[in-house]
């Protein structure tokens, strides 16, 4: 940075002055670096220096680890698909972002919608659309209710010749969708669903496509959405280039940046080097590399990502042994969750480097949903339930003995090359060791993700234990998929009518306070029953680093894959 002060003394400084100045500058820089780059306790954010205000223009150099599976948002339900589609396609609602929004917040704000009216019984949602939502070229026309209904029919496979999207299962609660007038859409539900608006905001589920899709153009080859970014160029394996949508309905000031280039950089080491070299504006950083990032990129902004993904250890539906509650408790109590977090996410190392570290324990609800999650280490959790998450190998061993003594079993997990990453692999090895110490002698069965784990094991075809991560956009979805879907072989085996009724009751709750209370309350019961064992995978600290010149980045964050339209339009570049 260059600056000149007209009042500064002229002439060269003496050697002593120079050394003193250099020392002061060095100390100041070190202090600034230390203050500016530390992860703030609890907040998980670092602050960018104040600046004059948003600046228009510039190109944001982003990244993706792979191409999206397709340009058509309804082909795949993967995270990569959802994120890519969120650049160009609008949803009716999206998650709220901004400086005062709590991390893991589920608050939604209108996207293409203008307002929504919910009937008292929670069965009818009347959505008014904005009148200024414009589709990208070559259509350049306003979005209407007809487009929304068309997209819904495309999602659910009701269009002639279409097949349901893989995510159609997620909106089974919807009975009918109809256009009441040109700008009003009515959703009629079969049963109330407490997080229906969040479901509509989920970029894995519903995007609005123009009704010309499939006739005027092939959505696999051309993207015509109405979101903040217009796709200009897509080179498979290389990049996607987006230009700001000048007529975006939440504009015209935003998006602040002119262009976003999403570079395909598959390898983590390469991503990190490119970020350190200043070629990428952001990168997801694994804990052990955080110090290197902070030391190398002066003023790097660090965002601590919420502990969002949940994973559970499942019991084989084929084996009667697991009907014995004592064994399920023993499995959970044999695991030292804090030590697993330390090993998998390098938390101790982070602490040694001076970072503030939180060790979250997921219950059957991920810790990221702070409004709904009950901290097992806190006072609100029933101590009787909390004890089943605490590391207690003696008690676990005693329970195993009571239940019939030591036995051998298997642990099925996805191979190291799966998409779950290093923490998952490390934890898999630790589970084997911890369980063996309490008399459950586990044989590790590492399975190929594509050939065995997904098509067989994840469907319940396994003996012993299996653990699998999952992500949902709302806390109720975890309860629904585990305890309400009867075709689900793994959970369906328990057939716990009382628990199912309780989850069904939660499903019908429209009062948010009651809903929150019930979801918080049911976690005690779920821990006591322990039909699946919540694992610490996903609860460790992961970080996103931004270059110092990317403004608003740490202030505008949402979880999930909707950030290209929820947050990115608010970022601006101050190089």
């Amino acid at each position: 940075m260059n600056s000149s002060d007209p009042g500064a003394p002229t002439g060269l400084p003496s050697r002593r002055q120079f050394l003193r100045g250099a020392l002061a500058l060095g100390l100041a820089a070190a202090g600034l670096a230390a203050a500016g780059c530390r992860v703030e306790p609890g907040a998980g954010r670092t602050q960018t220096p104040p600046s004059a205000g948003p600046r228009r223009g510039g190109t944001f150099s982003g990244l993706a680890a792979a191409d999206p599976p397709s340009l058509d948002p309804y082909v795949s339900g993967s995270q990569g698909q959802a994120e890519f589609s969120a650049y160009s396609y609008s949803r009716l609602f999206m998650l709220k972002a901004g400086p005062n929004v709590a991390r893991g917040s589920l608050e939604v704000v209108p996207d293409a919608a203008e307002s929504v009216q919910v009937s008292p019984d929670g069965l009818t949602y009347t959505v008014r659309l904005r009148k200024n939502v414009a589709f990208h070229p070559p259509l350049d026309r306003a979005m209407t209710a007809e487009d929304v209904v068309f997209s819904w029919n495309r999602l659910t496979g009701r269009l002639p010749g279409s097949t349901p999207s893989v995510r159609a299962e997620d909106i089974q609660m919807v009975e009918a969708v109809a256009a009441a007038d040109q700008y009003t859409v009515v959703f009629r539900l079969k049963n109330p669903y407490p997080f229906f608006l969040q479901k509509l905001a989920d970029p894995k589920v519903f995007f609005i496509m123009p009704k010309e899709t499939g006739t005027a153009f092939n959505p696999a080859e051309k993207v015509v959405g109405s979101g903040p970014w217009v796709l200009q160029e897509f080179v498979p394996g290389k990049l996607a280039r987006f230009k700001r949508h000048p007529n975006w309905h939440l504009g015209p000031e935003i998006p602040y940046m002119d262009e976003v280039v999403v570079n395909v950089v598959p390898e983590y080491a390469t991503q990190l080097s490119q970020f350190l070299g200043g070629n990428l504006e952001w990168v997801v950083v694994q804990g052990p590399d955080l110090k290197r990032v902070v030391d190398t990129v002066r003023g790097a902004q660090i965002y601590e990502r919420p502990p969002y993904p949940l994973s559970v250890l499942n019991f084989s539906p084929r084996e009667a042994r697991w009907e014995d509650q004592r064994l399920r408790w023993a499995v959970s109590m044999a695991l030292d969750r804090d030590a697993m977090l330390d090993a998998a996410y390098g938390l101790k190392e982070l602490e040694n480097q001076g970072f503030k570290v939180n060790r979250y324990w997921h219950t059957h609800i991920p810790a990221a949903f702070s409004e709904y999650w009950v901290d097992p280490k806190g006072p609100e959790m029933d101590p009787e339930a909390a004890r089943y998450l605490k590391y207690n190998p003696e008690e676990a061993r005693r329970l195993v003995q009571e239940a019939g003594g030591s036995f051998g079993t298997e642990l099925h997990f996805a191979a190291a090359n799966s998409r779950y990453g290093e923490p998952y692999r490390v934890m898999s090895e630790l589970i084997v060791q911890y369980l063996s110490r309490v008399g459950i002698n586990v044989r590790a069965t590492e399975e190929d993700y594509n050939s065995v784990f997904i098509p067989q094991t994840a469907r319940g075809e396994f003996n012993g234990l299996m653990w699998i991560p999952q992500t949902r956009v709302d806390p109720f979805a975890y309860l629904e998929t585990q305890y309400l879907i009867t075709t689900n072989k793994i959970y369906g085996r328990w057939n716990d009518a009382q628990l199912r009724d309780r989850v069904r009751q939660i499903q019908t709750m429209v009062d948010p306070d009651r809903l929150r209370r019930e979801i918080r309350g049911i976690q005690n019961e779920l821990l006591k029953k322990m039909y699946v064992v919540p694992m610490p995978y996903g609860a460790g600290l992961t970080f996103t680093a931004y270059q110092p010149w990317v403004r608003n980045a740490v202030e505008y964050q949402t979880f999930g894959q909707g950030w290209p339209s929820e947050c990115l339009p608010y970022y601006w570049l101050d190089r």
Binding site: P69, E169, P236, N263, T270, S451, I454, P455
Partner: protein, 317 residues
């Protein structure tokens, strides 16, 4: 010679059909179909009607042989089909990726030859002397060192030591030769180094064999300089097995670059093939295998023809 050529070329079509048929069947016999890969862990929740609809969409409700027959018919029309996942034409996907892989493979093979031949020859000529020990150790080291590890080292320590990162975006050679070569030279060197280990050892062995032959002794007895003996008499005769091995390594042009393409963010075919196999994108796998088959069959043919150039005693009839 012409008859031989015609026979070999005539065998190309049935060979390729056989290879693609085997691959078509094999990839479909793998557990987990394209629908499982699209659904991922959520496959457990999907109801049978949705699954059946997806099977119809991807023509998985037809027999394997019907699927294969349809693919061959389309192929005969010059249509490689569309990717099941992306829905885009496979021909255009491949057209964008072939140049990067071919360039990486070619540069890799050039580096391999540039390393292997001199070191192999020196090793043989200075047998059981320090140069030989060094050459042999180098060959073993290069054989034993995985290229992905070297690639990661180059990326990580390239930045730590020299603040070097490969260019963020890949540029085609004809677009921007400087940026292209800046991206390609390190992965090509790593690829070449790995291949050179094998070629180095082979070159040393074959040169050693021919150095004991009568015609080499005769050449020396005639008073020829050692360089002329080695390069003019020994090397051409020693090269036949090396050329064979080199021909086999041509498969690297297609598939051997998977890891390096990934590490250096090169949009080539290796990574595309790997992803397609993982996703069970059957038409893409078949198309790439077909292409690989064509390259391997043709390179074998070229190698066979080269024998007659290198050794005049070899005649085809």
């Amino acid at each position: 010679m012409t008859r031989y050529l015609l026979t070999r070329v005539g065998l190309v079509v049935p060979t390729l059909l056989g290879v693609t048929l085997v691959v078509t069947v094999a990839v479909r016999l793998l557990p987990g179909d394209v629908i499982d890969q699209i659904l991922g862990p959520d496959a457990v929740y999907v109801n049978p009607e949705t699954r059946a609809a997806l099977e119809r969409r991807f023509a998985l409700d037809r027999s394997i042989f019907e699927q294969y027959a349809n693919w061959v018919i389309d192929l005969a029309r010059g249509d490689l089909g569309r990717s099941l996942i992306s829905g885009r034409p496979i021909a255009s996907e491949l057209a964008g990726r072939i140049p990067a892989t071919v360039q990486l493979g070619t540069m890799g093979l050039a580096f391999a030859l540039a390393i292997a031949l001199p070191v192999g020859i020196l090793s043989a000529v200075y047998r059981d002397r320090p140069v030989d020990y060094l050459g042999r150790s180098l060959a073993i080291l290069l054989l034993a060192t995985p290229s992905f590890w070297l690639g990661l080292l180059a990326i990580t320590y390239g930045f730590i030591l020299f603040r070097w990162t490969p260019p963020l975006r890949y540029h085609e050679l004809w677009e921007n030769p400087g940026a292209n070569l800046n991206t390609m030279w390190i992965p090509a060197l790593i690829l070449g180094a790995h291949v050179s280990g094998r070629l180095m050892r082979l070159t040393r062995t074959t040169v050693l064999e021919v150095l004991g032959e009568d015609y080499v002794r005769t050449a020396r007895a005639k008073g020829l300089r050692e360089r002329a003996v080695i390069l003019g008499h020994a090397l051409p005769n020693a090269l036949i097995p090396v050329v064979t091995e080199f021909g086999l390594q041509v498969r690297l042009l297609i598939g051997g670059t998977v890891v390096l393409e990934r590490i250096f963010s090169i949009p080539g075919m290796g990574n595309y093939l790997l992803t397609s196999i993982q996703q069970r994108d059957y038409p893409v796998v078949q198309a790439i295998v077909l292409l690989t088959g064509v390259v391997v069959v043709l390179s074998n043919l070229v190698v066979d023809l080269l024998y007659s150039v290198l050794d005049p005693r070899v005649r085809y009839g």
